[in-house]
Symmetry: C2
């Protein structure tokens, strides 16, 4: 049975995120044209990996994807991740 | 009142995602490890931007963040995005 898994990987809070800082600066200085977004703070940029996984239950798929995230998709020293699994509709 | 907004940006389904294809190949062969994940397919890699936005309601913040995503964070020609907003706990 196919499941859709989504792994979201972000830098840990304690790690500086220069890409997020750059995005925040761009948003505040209206790099987009005629508007700016001064009410924005704490911008952090991460990556998300969506995959289709064949498995018997959402729990078993989640366990499998956690192994995968821990070993390959994320660097646990610097990054933290969340895993969401739902049946593929 | 502060809200936490999360913008997830992925390539449109019709656009090739070479990074996702590379990740899929790596997962299936798990180069440099003792396990592999053959049950995986349709890997796509995107980016996620988390931001703290000051606003009066979740709806108004969502509208604002959609403008921002449309104009700055995503390229609507090639990418699609989703916006989630929740009160900052």
């Amino acid at each position: 049975m196919p499941f859709k898994a989504k792994v979201t990987v972000m830098f840990r809070k304690s790690i500086l995120d220069p890409q997020g800082a750059a995005v925040e600066r761009a948003l505040k200085s209206h790099a987009g044209g005629d508007i700016s977004f001064p009410d924005i703070s704490s911008v952090r940029v991460g990556k998300v990996v969506e995959l289709t996984v064949d498995g018997t239950s959402a729990e078993s798929v989640k366990e499998k994807v956690k192994v995968l995230a821990d070993r390959i998709l994320a660097n646990p020293v610097m990054e933290e991740y969340t895993v969401d699994v739902e049946p593929l509709s």
